[in-house]
């Protein structure tokens, strides 16, 4: 009797125009409103110009339609999802439908009363973000005063018997604090810690020169994490999401666009990845005017990057294309101007030098000093910056 589990998302895509499986992972970006102003946010820089948020009834309909197709993992994100006062009824309906519900939050707005109501409604899991290990750095990086509040929320999460998952986005300005960050997580009694190196989209892309760590920083952080992992064993599981700029092969982004992930953005635009709105020439459908079934199976924008007919060389003839799907379409577009190019993280890409050049700039010994001198200031994510600096939809 073979009792080995199999990862369901490891099946290679079939040749020809493939009929995809169901959208197993549904991410609802309930709002772009956020009390934090993180400079590494992946939300679009022009979010202030997007349309009105969906109403409660629209979100409930999205949940019902997606679940009927087979969606089962649900992420509730944003912005800060707690800024929606209908989060509880949304969770309640999702739970009734059988979703496994993840709340991805900064913790701001998570009072004990709300947490109790969310638990009652059937929320399965909370991922709490921290920006750094100290009040000073956390508050600087999020451009708020939220560290103490987040610490209280961490205690509440334990009190309500949720597994505690802390997420810290790493970048040049906090990656040297990995040890302190892990000590903080241990103090809070975290079950999982996700050290996620910044991915460069949205505000993070705009701030990339200031956020990209040096190779030395990354390697030190990884060694520190490794030592910590050995020390604490299984009581706290640590995930280290490697920064893809330092790799020679791209990440299998979304397991290929349109294969398992479906994102609905605050205004109802349906996307095969939360960053995909930037991709040019694709007219993404809106849940206000199309069903999830129609969107997932029968729209050109969702079909476009399925299979491999869209690929250019070197991906098209590459034996590894079934493993990484050519990497990230958004990264290819941002760095090369063509979303059908190989992700330049791949060292087989003719554009790989764009990545190595960015890493080389981050490695310059004087880079830190220049940044400290405020040569190019960080642009924090805010409504005001969005509407003044990125008034027109620039797709980034």
């Amino acid at each position: 009797m073979a009792a080995n589990p199999s990862l369901n998302d490891s099946a290679p895509p079939r040749p020809g125009p493939p009929r995809p499986g169901p959208p197993l992972w549904l991410l609802l970006e309930l709002t772009y409103r956020c009390p934090l102003h993180c400079a590494f946010c992946y939300n679009p820089t022009d979010f202030a110009g997007t349309g009105a948020e969906l109403a409660t009834e629209d979100w409930l309909r999205v949940l019902r339609e997606a679940r009927a197709l087979g969606a089962v993992q649900l992420g509730l994100s944003g912005g800060e999802p707690l800024t929606r006062d209908d989060l509880e009824p949304i969770v309640e309906e999702a739970h009734r439908l059988g979703f496994y519900i993840n709340l991805i939050t900064s913790g701001v707005g998570l009072s004990e009363a709300r947490l109790g109501a969310l638990k009652q409604a059937g929320l399965d899991h909370i991922q709490l973000s921290f920006q750094d290990s100290s009040k000073q750095m956390n508050d600087f990086l999020s451009s708020t005063r939220t560290f103490e509040l987040k610490s209280k929320v961490a205690a509440l999460i334990k009190q309500y018997d949720y597994p505690m998952v802390l997420n810290v986005v790493l970048h040049r300005l906090n990656i040297d604090h990995v040890e302190e960050i892990l000590e903080m997580a241990l103090r809070f009694g975290a079950d999982y810690v996700e050290l996620a190196n910044t991915q460069y989209y949205g505000w993070a892309w705009h701030n990339r020169e200031q956020l990209l760590p040096s190779r030395d920083q990354v390697e030190r952080a990884e060694r520190t994490m490794q030592r910590f992992r050995e020390r604490v064993g299984k009581q706290m599981q640590i995930f280290f999401v490697v920064p893809d700029y330092f790799e020679s092969r791209p990440k299998p982004c979304m397991k290929g666009l349109g294969s398992i992930f479906l994102t609905i953005s605050p205004d109802g635009t349906a996307l095969p990845c939360h960053a995909a709105r930037m991709l040019p020439g694709l007219d993404f459908p809106n849940v206000r005017s199309a069903s999830i079934e129609e969107i997932w199976y029968r729209t050109e924008s969702f079909n476009h990057f399925r299979g491999d007919a869209w690929m250019k060389e070197p991906c098209r003839s590459c034996p590894e294309k079934t493993r990484d799907f050519g990497g990230c379409r958004c990264q290819a577009y941002l760095m090369t101007g063509d979303a059908a190019n190989a992700d330049p993280v791949c060292d087989l890409s003719p554009h790989h030098h764009l990545v190595t050049a960015a890493v080389a700039r981050a490695d310059r010994p004087d880079a830190a000093a220049q940044l400290d001198a405020g040569e190019k200031p960080l642009v924090f994510r805010s409504e005001r910056n969005s509407s003044t600096l990125f008034p027109k939809r620039d797709g980034i």
């Binding site: 199999s6 992972w25 087979g70 992420g75 998952v165």
Partner: protein
């Protein structure tokens, strides 16, 4: 709990924060956990769904042998439970 000795009278249950459910769209049991999902093959699903924290491994094994009209499953079941404890899909409360 993974270092705890597993015995025939241990009572494995699904780990806190994890949920096992049958998904018709995937025609399989899936194990859901924070930001993750594992599609279980048939035998893994059959073992996991019997891990309710109250039934002993011996009884789970006997029930499986009955359900599938077979014998000698205990080594397989033990091996699976051991692996699932390692992966934190299952827990054995002391």
């Amino acid at each position: 709990m993974s270092d705890m000795a597993i015995e025939a009278n241990s009572r494995p249950g699904i780990e806190r924060g994890y949920r096992l459910q049958w998904e018709p769209a995937q025609n399989a049991h899936v194990l859901l956990y924070p930001e993750g999902m594992i599609k279980l093959n048939g035998s893994a699903g059959e073992i996991m769904k019997r891990c309710d924290g109250a039934t002993t491994i011996a009884d789970i094994t006997a029930d499986l042998e009955r359900a599938f009209a077979t014998t000698n499953l205990s080594a397989d079941v033990l091996r699976f439970v051991h692996m699932a404890l390692e992966k934190k899909w299952l827990q054995i409360r002391p």
